[in-house]
């Protein structure tokens, strides 16, 4: 039940956003994250955006993993 999937914001009106993943659109409330902008990725749970997905941090994890993988080889 704690599932929250990364969705891209395509529209914002006040505290409401429309966000999309794989062609599926859903409304999400932005009360916890008023600073987000169109194009940002948010984690949506039960109709509420609970966190933003930080692109730099996402890349940092992948870079770490690729380096770790190289060490093993």
């Amino acid at each position: 039940m704690c599932l929250a999937i990364p969705m891209r914001i395509i529209e914002i009106e006040g505290f409401r956003a429309v966000a999309e993943v794989d062609g599926v659109r859903r409304e999400a409330r932005l009360d916890l994250l008023p600073e987000v902008a169109v194009g940002d990725y948010i984690l949506v749970h039960a109709g509420l955006a609970i966190a933003t997905v930080d692109p730099e941090d996402a890349e940092e994890t992948l870079t770490f993993l690729r380096q770790l993988a190289d060490e093993v080889q």
């Binding site: 990364p6 409330r29 009360d31 994250l33 609970i50 940092e60 993988a69 093993v72």
Partner: protein, 363 residues
């Protein structure tokens, strides 16, 4: 699916798996606290990628599963109110109460509506002014802000036909009790990434400090889960116990202050009964006095006082939730308890340990 698919990369999964195998020196049991982790572990077959000395057990992190039988019976009883319209997350519909379930009540004519968001229940109330909409507030810290927001919106609109039966629960208190009992011996905990987006990793720092258990906050894709295991195995190799955050793309320190403020504005801590763990002081979330008119426990106190005590059941979900009985070792599993004839919530919740084992791990 950006930010999902990259973390399902087969090559990274296998290389992480090899790294974990190399670093594991002795037997260790890790608990995946969160039901969504349990489901991810089963769905992606991650146990098969771990060395045999490393055991993964499920914990108390499925909110539907830890809901006490008497609370389920209470919500079912609310369906007898004359204009009741019961609103619930879909996961709860087939969970058996002592004598019935929402699914069976719906077949008998009780109005039951499945909602995706608590705010959808507010919409139901707005659109059905002749009905009394009661929302079953189930969930941990991840879900609580959505319920708090629904209560605030209902208050701002002055809705008189909306209330919630809150059985929301907070995770750190349950872990404190579970680990303090000494019943389950774990060396590491995979901590719930989405709960932690709300409460912050620091909310779990008592675990390494008090119990010397290595922890990793992690996400829900296969690479995330294995990265969490890797972080714990690294700590174990160095005899370290800290809370590592390996879900940095979503979990920030400190936690979102708006979420904290919203929860504090609407909820107050109260004692809560957990299936399998009993009463845990301060681990529940009641509505603050200012929102008492939206509290189904207060609005329907007379009816709820007449609900008979929960009937004893052969279900052993309690032990499964404490990590002391693997789902497949339960004598009822796949015999008298199946998803179509469930004895308890762990077999029907989409993230129950028994449901996960039934769907993905049956021999």
């Amino acid at each position: 699916m950006k930010y999902s698919e990259e973390y399902r990369d087969r090559e990274l999964v296998h290389k992480l798996s090899r790294q974990i195998q190399e670093l594991t020196s002795g037997p260790a049991t890790l608990m995946e606290v969160c039901g969504t982790h349990t489901m991810a572990v089963a769905r992606f077959g991650l146990k098969s990628l771990l060395p045999p000395q490393l055991k993964l057990v499920s914990g108390p992190g499925c909110p539907v599963c830890v809901t006490a039988q008497e609370d389920i019976d209470a919500f079912l009883a609310l369906g007898s109110r004359p204009q009741a319209m019961l609103a619930t997350f879909g996961d709860m519909v087939r969970v058996p109460g002592s004598t019935t379930s929402l699914e069976r009540e719906r077949a008998r004519g009780v109005q039951v509506r499945v909602v995706y968001a608590p705010l959808d229940a507010v919409t139901l109330a707005r659109e059905n002014p002749q009905k009394e909409v009661i929302f079953f507030g189930v969930g941990f810290e991840t879900t609580m802000p959505a319920t708090a927001l629904a209560v605030k919106v209902a208050a701002a609109e002055g809705l008189k036909n909306f209330s919630i039966l809150s059985v929301h629960k907070t995770m750190p208190a349950a872990l404190q009790v579970l680990l303090g009992s000494g019943e389950v011996k774990v060396s590491g905990l995979l901590l719930p990434g989405h709960v932690t987006t709300i409460i912050g990793p620091e909310a779990f720092s008592f675990i390494p400090q008090k119990f010397h258990i290595s922890c990793a906050v992690t996400g829900f894709e296969p690479v995330d889960v294995l990265l969490g295991v890797y972080a714990i195995v690294c700590q174990l190799a160095d005899n370290r116990a800290v809370v590592d955050n390996v879900y940095i793309r979503a979990v920030k320190t400190p936690a979102n202050p708006r979420a904290q403020a919203l929860l504090a504005e609407v909820f107050r801590p109260e004692d809560a009964t957990w299936r399998g763990l009993g009463v845990i002081p301060g681990s529940g979330a009641g509505l603050r006095e200012e929102f008492a008119r939206f509290d189904a426990r207060q609005r329907c106190a007379e009816l709820l006082a007449r609900v008979p005590p929960a009937k004893p059941s052969a279900c052993r979900c309690g032990e499964v939730l404490r990590g002391t009985l693997p789902a497949r070792d339960c004598p009822q599993f796949d015999r008298t308890c199946t998803p179509s004839q469930p004895l308890g919530p762990c077999m029907v919740s989409s993230e129950g340990a028994c449901a996960a084992a039934y769907k993905y791990e049956r021999e």
